[in-house]
Symmetry: C2
Subunit: 347 residues, 2 copies
């Protein structure tokens, strides 16, 4: 269950303005291709007809806005960057749904399930291109955000982060075929995925034309959040929040045998018998619910859940510590700190 509200420090007006900027950017285009994107983003139904908006996770875009405000910019200057990173995040989700064969996301059929894998791959590619096109709108901004060097740095940051996420995704998929994956390997993959939230925070700094040291601190802040979030998603897939069922996305991750920090810990620290039992389960082509129960049972024995939770808590601390050097006001630091905790705990 990801966070679908408004992050601390941002107003309802910030959130509304962001949503309408995102919507305007997609709706300004006519072809049915953009209806698929609008569907994925929660604004229209399968036929392209408006439907009551489904609240979705917009934390990537919101972190851009919150970081920009902390670094002294207004939301307007950060808006094209917020739109860009949110689109980048969503292009990856559309492709992840094909890759993991998820039939549902946000309680609605996924793009590939509704339009087929070929259209979903293509729609994702289109959203990827659009993410970058949004950044060019920054040229029309007023103030330091429109400085060509800033825009160029934003574009390059975005591409570098995308490639880093792809590197992480490569490892993630290849680890599905291996029984034994180490704790450090799992954390490395999560850090690569965390590049996306790292860039989100950095883009906020770029919108405020912040100093290089602030940009570095914001990147570290965001990347630590993204890393912790990524690790926690796999943990929540094993142990869903009380009173909730596993979502389709969580089931997709487990059934495709994504390794978690907890399973890696159990493999490194369990007895030979534990390791053999886990190995046998992960050698199966597809995992069924009984297998998952056995996995969580083993992880209880090895105290791997507590290990993973404590590692995630350290990453949240790492995010908060990164803010120390920024010179942000204590009010902004506190909002960003609360945001970090919220994003990670609701992942």
């Amino acid at each position: 269950m990801s966070f679908t509200g408004i992050l601390p420090g941002l107003t309802a007006a910030d959130s509304d303005q962001f949503e309408s900027s995102l919507k305007k950017f997609v709706d300004s285009r006519e072809l049915p291709l953009y209806k698929i994107m609008a569907y994925h983003l929660g604004w229209v139904d399968h036929n392209g007809e408006p439907e009551p908006a489904v609240s979705q996770d917009r934390t990537h875009g919101q972190i851009v806005l919150a970081s920009a405000q902390a670094a002294g910019s207004d939301s307007a200057a950060a808006m094209p960057y917020a739109v860009a990173i949110e689109l980048l995040n969503n292009f990856m989700l559309v492709h992840e749904d094909v890759q993991n064969a998820n039939t549902e996301r946000n309680n609605r059929p996924t793009v590939w399930w509704s339009w087929g894998p070929a259209q979903a791959i293509n729609a994702g590619d289109g959203i990827h291109a659009m993410a970058r096109i949004s950044i060019f709108e920054q040229r029309n901004a007023s103030g330091p955000a429109s400085d060509p060097r800033n825009i160029s740095m934003a574009l390059e940051s975005l591409d570098t982060a995308t490639l880093e996420v792809c590197e992480g995704e490569y490892l993630d998929i290849s680890y599905q075929e291996r029984a034994s994956v180490g704790v450090d390997e799992i954390v490395d993959v999560a850090r690569k995925h965390g590049a996306l939230m790292g860039i989100a925070a950095k883009l906020g700094g770029l919108a405020a034309a912040a100093d290089a040291s602030v940009l570095v601190a914001l990147y570290e802040f965001g990347q630590a959040i993204g890393t912790a979030q990524n690790l926690n998603i796999d943990l929540k897939a094993l142990w869903p929040d009380p009173g909730t069922d596993r979502t389709e996305v969580q089931r997709g991750r487990l059934q495709s045998k994504k390794k978690s920090l907890a399973t890696a810990h159990a493999i490194e620290n369990g007895t030979p018998t534990t390791r053999r039992r886990l190995g046998e389960i992960f050698m199966k082509r597809v995992l069924d619910p009984a297998d998952l129960d056995e996995v969580t049972e083993i992880l209880a024995e090895t105290e791997s859940r507590a290990f993973a939770e404590s590692r995630i808590a350290s990453l949240v601390d790492e995010a908060i510590t990164a803010l120390n050097s920024t010179g942000f006001s204590s009010e902004h630091k506190s909002s960003l700190t609360e945001s970090a905790k919220l994003i990670v705990s609701s992942s």
Copy 2:
């Protein structure tokens, strides 16, 4: 059978330098993800071991170099753009192979067939990001090519073209489900796909810091080639070159019921009986070889092959005419003209 040689006007040294720039750009990265890319680009085998290079179509990159030379630049200044467009083209091929379930390309197993669809989608996304990263190398170039405004225009052109290809791809896939698709609709889709070659030629002009009017002419030149090439690929799938079998890629296009200019012409101009026969064939879930024989028989009756060939020839003329206003030397015009004919006829 696409063109795998060196385009007229370019030297073997140009071609070698381009290939080694492309290779260096991919090989400078360490992870196995980049081995998948190197495999797709024809330099290593499935295990990442060097193998005798398989000649591949590099016409997108070569058109950048040839256009740059015609517009007065040297190859070195155009190299990062040539690498970018070739990577962009190849990201699309990797995804097309997943979309059409092609098991082979260039007589070797495709990426998805070797590593699975999830890795192939991811590898394509990574190549997409890398295409843009190559453009940032232009900042280190000497001369007008390193002008930030030029680089920014190159980046935006690339994204706009990518989105246009995605729009075309959306239509292309959705037409697979329709029996009746008009000639104009087919040409519109091909024009959107042609945006890629259009941008290739324009990037050559940008590397030479050419005037706006030359950039427009180069785009028109490239787009007309790309459009004609795209239409001819579907025609060659119906009627392979004498003495050759259909390639896997051609079979993939036919079996996924991609419509061609020739079938669209037959549907618009055939008798009601012709239309009903074609409609029945295209309503099948999958087409078998006997269906394809019947389609080509019908298209012979309606003289649709001749119609399509003449339309493609007009597009080649359109490409050549676009060069008139450029002020290029007659030698360069003649090389570009020959290149246009070669690329289209070998598509």
